[in-house]
């Protein structure tokens, strides 16, 4: 379990990165910072519904569309982000 957690927090080359959601999309510059929290909240709801075997209210695709993320550059910013700041937080 602990090993799994470790792996989940790393990107494909095994680096820990992106402590906190970037303010803007790396590619086009759209402001995406404020959208992450809402996406996460709605995604958790979706996940809960799927795990309980119910039909989710909305899919991640619909959430991203609803948040106004049209281009795939902005969409990947949100879906590929790993929030790690809380783990580093005790160290100043």
């Amino acid at each position: 379990m602990e090993e799994e957690l470790e792996r989940k927090d790393r990107n494909h080359i095994g680096e820990k990165e992106n402590m906190i959601i970037p303010v803007r999309c790396f590619t086009c510059g759209k402001v995406i910072g404020p959208l992450y929290e809402e996406y996460k909240k709605r995604y958790e709801e979706y996940k809960k519904a799927v795990e309980a075997g119910e039909k989710p209210k909305e899919t991640p695709k619909q959430i991203l569309d609803d948040l106004g993320l049209e281009r795939y550059c902005c969409r990947r910013m949100i879906i590929s982000h790993v929030d790690l700041l809380r783990e580093a937080a005790p160290y100043e």
Partner: protein
């Protein structure tokens, strides 16, 4: 030239521009990217930072925040009467001070005057745990996209040729292959005839042309008609950005005209 708005929101615009050439639309696009001024945080004075992020990272994140920009009230710092010292005509100051559990948002930046309050106030800057502190002061100045991306007010400005889809109804045998293949789902069969639902959504990918065995469909772009779209980051509205870009372009041509008259 004829311009019609297909969509106009505070932060997004889609325009149809007719009877013009690509170079003209492109010049407008490039002005938007590199010449249009906007306000962004340039100097950060950090008094105390005990957060897990480095001073530099916080300063960088602050720089990316879109600040509401009133171009009538501001001048560039190097052209200002204060000679680069920083006065209310060229500089907007904010202060931020937060301590203890919680997220520091862009809205926590307190402006000297209320009119400069940040509209996009929910951008997380850093997260604080107990006993952590962030106290700083920032100066924002006008800049241009060609100097740094933080001064780029317009995002993803792009144009495409207006699509023309021609269907030869004599050749078409209603096999529906093109309807299945179209990535934008803009084709349909109406009254036993293949027709186009929403032509403006067509991306000119020509998948329908490739898949059609009878060569009944041709897709091309109208070289004198464009769909131009762009978004702004909220520092200027889409309309302001467009009008300002057009007037910058106009000034550039006027300057060129004056220089050309002096020749000979």
């Amino acid at each position: 030239m004829k311009v019609t708005t297909l969509e106009l929101k505070p932060n997004k615009a889609v325009l149809k521009i007719e009877n013009t050439k690509p170079y003209f639309v492109n010049s407008l696009r490039r002005i938007m990217l590199s010449e249009l001024p906007k306000l962004a945080i340039e100097d950060v004075i950090i008094y105390d930072n005990t957060t897990p992020l480095f001073d530099e990272i916080i300063a960088h994140r602050l720089g990316m925040i879109p600040l509401p920009t009133d171009l009538k009230l501001l001048t560039f710092r190097d052209q200002c009467t204060c000679k680069g010292k920083g006065c209310p005509n060229c500089t907007v100051r904010y202060t931020l001070s937060k301590e203890g559990e919680g997220v520091v948002y862009s809205g926590d930046l307190q402006p000297e005057e209320k009119s400069w309050a940040i509209k996009e106030d929910k951008i997380p800057i850093v997260e604080l745990t107990k006993d952590q502190r962030l106290i700083l002061e920032v100066e924002a100045i006008l800049g241009r996209g060609k100097d740094h991306a933080k001064w780029q007010a317009v995002q993803a400005p792009a144009y495409k040729y207006y699509p023309i889809i021609e269907i030869d109804h004599k050749k078409c045998d209603l096999c529906k292959k093109c309807i299945e293949e179209c990535p934008k789902n803009i084709l349909e069969i109406k009254n036993k005839k293949l027709s186009v639902k929403d032509i403006e959504k067509c991306t000119l990918c020509r998948t329908c042309m490739d898949v059609c065995e009878k060569n009944a469909i041709t897709v091309r772009g109208d070289e004198n008609k464009f769909i131009f779209r762009f978004e702004t980051d909220g520092s200027l509205t889409a309309k302001e950005a467009l009008l300002e870009s057009a007037s910058i372009l106009e000034k550039k041509y006027e300057e060129l005209g004056k220089l050309l008259k002096k020749l000979k």
